[in-house]
Structures are given as structure tokens and as C-alpha cells.
């Protein structure tokens, strides 16, 4: 009896959490299909906002830029981060500890501060605002995430596997490709997803570093809201959410697959 009650309470609590997490998102998604531009009920189904969105070239270019920057960030941060992790794992050098400790603060420093610092820095060295600055900034933000996830995976790697491969005549490159990388692949994928998410969701740093009128999707959404809320934005946001969730499902499946090895 008591047990049933507690079980019920637990389920209710879980439901509450899910409502807390998903209600705003569901409301937004619903409103993107509501005909009224002022969020008026009763709900009346309409695909008009999606049509508007499709016709809005600004949204399209911003979205394309966002995806492009996120993809480039993923590739660069994953490549740099993975090689950095392997170097940190394999070699002992002066200042290694300091370097490892210095990797973590950027995760904790508020993006607002990092963004300001980057803006000042890029102006000082002459890069200025624009897509290159945004890309460099995103890579810098994403790098620690990649290093942390790949290093976590590497910490369970048995270095004698590399020695064994070398004893059989494999060159460093073959060892890396055939032995080390397959082992850390799940970590690299997870790090890459982090990097994509950090870049694609990035508002603060993008806002500071991008040129006006030449922005990423989150910045465009923000500026549109300031001008006046249109349900078009709901439509964009809904699509982003669906895509993000799809990516996360894939990631979950992949990492389980990787964990089996």
C-alpha cells in the first residue's frame, strides 16, 4: 500500500519534470502551427508560418551559415582536440600539468566575458568582426569539450596495444589509424557532437563577433524577437528542435554501439 503510494508519487514527480522540460517547447511548436499571429486561442491549424519561413531568405542564409560554421567548428575542434588529447596522453613534457589545468577554466568562464575578450582581441590583432572571427571563437570554445571527452576515453586505453602493434612492424601512422583511433572513436564522436552543439547553439560569442546583417541563426532569431515577435521564429525553432533531437538520438545509439567494444 505504502509502496504503491510512493511509486505513484515517483511517477508523478517524473511527469512533472517532463512537463517542466517540454511544456514550453511543445507550446512553441503548437504556436508555430497556429494561424493567429498574436498567439490567440482557439487553436486554428495553419502551415502559413512555415511558408513564410521558407520564403524568408534572411533566415535561410543565417541557417546555412550556422550549419556551415558548426560543421567547420566540429571538424577543426575535433581534429585539434583529438591530437591534443593523444599528445597529452602519450608524452610527458614540461608544463603538461599546467596545460591540462588551464584547459578547464574556459568551460566555466561566462561566455559573455569570453565573447568580450575575444572581440577586443580580434580587433587588436586586426581580424575584426566577421565569419572568420566567429569560426575561430567557436573552435576555441569547443576545444576544451573535445579534449575532455576524448581524454576520458583515452584514459581507459592500454598503451601496450600500441607497443604490440609496433612490435609487429606497424608504423606510427598505422598504429594510430588501426589501433588508437578505433578505440577512442566513441569519444571523438561525442566530442564532435559537443563541438557542433556549442557552435550551433552559440549566441553570445556569435553576437559579439559577427558583422551586423551577416549573422548566425541564433543571433538572427534574437534580433527578430527584438524587432517584434513573429510566429515564423517559432517555426524555425521547432525545426531546430526536431533536428537537434534527431542528432541526440543518433548520438545515443552510436555511443552505445561504441561502448560495446
Amino acid at each position: 500500500m505504502r509502496r504503491n503510494f510512493l511509486g505513484l508519487l515517483g511517477k508523478a514527480w517524473l511527469a512533472l519534470i517532463l512537463v517542466f522540460l517540454y511544456a514550453p517547447i511543445l507550446v512553441m511548436a503548437a504556436m508555430s502551427f497556429n494561424a493567429s499571429p498574436f498567439y490567440q486561442l482557439p487553436f486554428e491549424f495553419s502551415g502559413a508560418w512555415y511558408q513564410d519561413m521558407m520564403a524568408n531568405e534572411q533566415i535561410f542564409t543565417a541557417a546555412a551559415r550556422s550549419v556551415l560554421i558548426a560543421a567547420a567548428t566540429t571538424v577543426l575542434a575535433t581534429a585539434f582536440g583529438t591530437s591534443a588529447s593523444i599528445a597529452l596522453f602519450r608524452y610527458d613534457f614540461r608544463g603538461k600539468r599546467i596545460l591540462q589545468v588551464l584547459l578547464f577554466p574556459p568551460i566555466a568562464i561566462p561566455w559573455l566575458i569570453t565573447g568580450t575578450a575575444m572581440l577586443i582581441f580580434f580587433f587588436t590583432i586586426g581580424i575584426g568582426r566577421g565569419t572568420p572571427a566567429v569560426l575561430i571563437g567557436h573552435v576555441a570554445l569547443a576545444l576544451p569539450y573535445v579534449i575532455v571527452t576524448v581524454s576520458a576515453r583515452l584514459s581507459s586505453f592500454d598503451i601496450t596495444l600500441e607497443e604490440a602493434a609496433r612490435s609487429m612492424g606497424a608504423s606510427s601512422w598505422t598504429v594510430l589509424r588501426r589501433v588508437t583511433l578505433p578505440w577512442i572513436a566513441p569519444g571523438i564522436v561525442a566530442g564532435g557532437l559537443f563541438a557542433f552543439a556549442v557552435s550551433f547553439d552559440q549566441f553570445v560569442v556569435s553576437y559579439f563577433l559577427s558583422k551586423p546583417g551577416d549573422t548566425t541563426l541564433p543571433v538572427l532569431i534574437y534580433t527578430s524577437i527584438r524587432k517584434g515577435f513573429t510566429p515564423e521564429i517559432n517555426a524555425v525553432s521547432t525545426i531546430i528542435i526536431v533536428l537537434s533531437m534527431a542528432v541526440m538520438f543518433l548520438a545515443a545509439r552510436y555511443s552505445r554501439f561504441g561502448g560495446e567494444r
Binding site: 592500454d158 601496450t160 596495444l161 607497443e163 604490440a164 602493434a165 609496433r166 612490435s167 609487429m168 612492424g169 606497424a170 608504423s171 598505422t174 588501426r178 589501433v179 578505433p182 578505440w183 567494444r261
Partner: protein, 337 residues
Amino acid sequence: MSRVEVSNVTMEFGQTTALDDVSIAFEDGGFFALLGPSGSGKTTLLRTIAGFYFPKSGTIRIGDRNVESVPVEKRDIGMMFQNYALFPNMSVADNIGFGLRVRKVPAAEEKKRISEALDLVQLGALANRRPSQLSGGQRQRVALARAIVTNPKVLLLDEPLSALDKTLRVDMQIELKRIQREVGITTIFVTHDQEEALTLSDRIGILRNGRIVQAGPPREVYDRPVDEFTAGFLGEANWLSASLLEDLTLPAQVDGHRFGTRPEALRISADTPDAGQNAVRGQVRQRIFAGAMATCLIDVGGSQWKLIARDRDIPELPGDGQVWVSWSPEDTLVVRA
């Protein structure tokens, strides 16, 4: 298959000298055990021969080639690691075939050689398994097959049996010896288990503090150890105090030497032993029965001796425990003082 020769090799890690002017030769086709306590440099010597470390000075020859500055992957060795180091993401066959693929052996020949290697270690049925699906002994066989499938010049084994339990270890010793004979490969084997070294190898080398203390056939090293350390490391020894030496027949000058015996060389008797035997008086402290064998702990001139004999060869002991302990003069151990 080749002779391996290490000459005057010194190896340092920072301030510590891991190998101190080591010279030793490993004959073609021989089974050689490197034995020593931890930190003696035996693993360092093996890894230096493998090419994981480059010596500070000295030369290493494998066959007719000087390799001291050649990296591991170019030395043409086979190595087996303590934890086997099988690739977890590859099947048994792919693990064994790794070195063949690296050498770009044609696919048909690769397949043939993998199956020959699998037959040699009697694992033919498990080619498609993953290492995680194998038992400890099976993993060991895969590691061995992987190490020899490329026909390397020398096989290096780094404590390969230490992860197995006792019974499996004895089986694998026999197996390892059989395969080594069949393949005829020069084998160098690191172990801290002296029984394993004596059982398996044609020659053993004892290391201590980065130096080779003694090298030779197992029986010779056991019977004629050069110093107290080697005598104690390969087995047990009782040492004669100076006051006991007078009436004994000794094979060498007393000056500069110490004398002792192996526990199993001793006989115990209540009566005076035959002339011609070395004999000392002793007081039995304890007689430990262990089935076929028995151990006696005897106080001889103030130091505790150990005697091991078949239980039936030890006579009824007198009430006061006073006995004669005797041995043949040629069984006396002579070491550097």
C-alpha cells in the same frame, strides 16, 4: 631466427641506471630466461632488445645487423606482453593477421599463415571470436600465435605466464616449450619465477641492479652460483659460519669465499656419518611433515639451516634433538665472499 648479441649496453632513465654495461649473447634457436627481482633491469633489457628503448651506449645485434638505433617496428621481432595486448576491436584471426597485413602479405598467403598459426596453438575453431570472448589461456595462445606468425628473428616474452593460475601455467609452460622447439625460434623470456626459468630454458641469465650476475645452463647456475644472491634467488641455501670450516673438506681456498649447501643435499643422522663426508653437529628445532617430503629446521653453530628430504629418509630423531648433518664435499656451494 638469429643470434642476438648485446654488448656493453648502458641504459639510463633520468638519474637511474637501469642497465649497467650489460653484455650477453643469446644463441640461435635457444630458449633463454632472464631472471631477477623487480627493478633488476630484466624487463628493461628485453625492451631494449625489442627497441622500445635506445641504449645510451653499447651495441645490439640481431642476426648480422646492428639494431641499437633501429626503432621497434623495423627490428623484425615478435613480442608477447604480460597482459597479452590483444586488439579488442579485432577478431582472433585479425589479431594474428595484423603483422602480415602491415607487411602487405598477399591475402591468400595471409589466410594460409593465419590458419597455420591457429593450428600451431590449437585454436583453429576460435578464429572469428573476439578477445573478450576467450579465456585467459586462449588469449595467451592467440598472443603467441600473433607474435610468431610473421617469422620474426627473435621472440621476446615479457612475463607471459604470470597472469595465469598455477595449473594453467604449468600446461602453458609445456605448450610454450613445444611450440618454441617446433618453430625453432630464438626466444628470450623475462620472468621473476625461478622455477619457470629453470623448467623452460636452455640458459638463464640472472640480473641484479642492472647487471648480469651470472649466465649459463640452469643446472650449472643452480649448482655453481657465483654469489650468495644468485644462490638465494634460484633456491634456498644454508651458509657455513667461519668457525665450522676447520674439519671440512672444501673445494676452494677459504679466503675470499663463502661456503654453503642446498637444503636437499643434506642428510641427517643420529650416528657419526662416514668418513669422507662433510659433517657438522646440529640441534633439530622443528620437523615439518609434508607427505612425501619433509623439512627440518636445524640450529647449526648458531644459524638456522633448512634440510629437505624424503620423509622416509629422515631417521627417528634422538630425544635431545642432537644430530649430525652431513653432505658430500662436491655438493658444497662456493661463492664469492
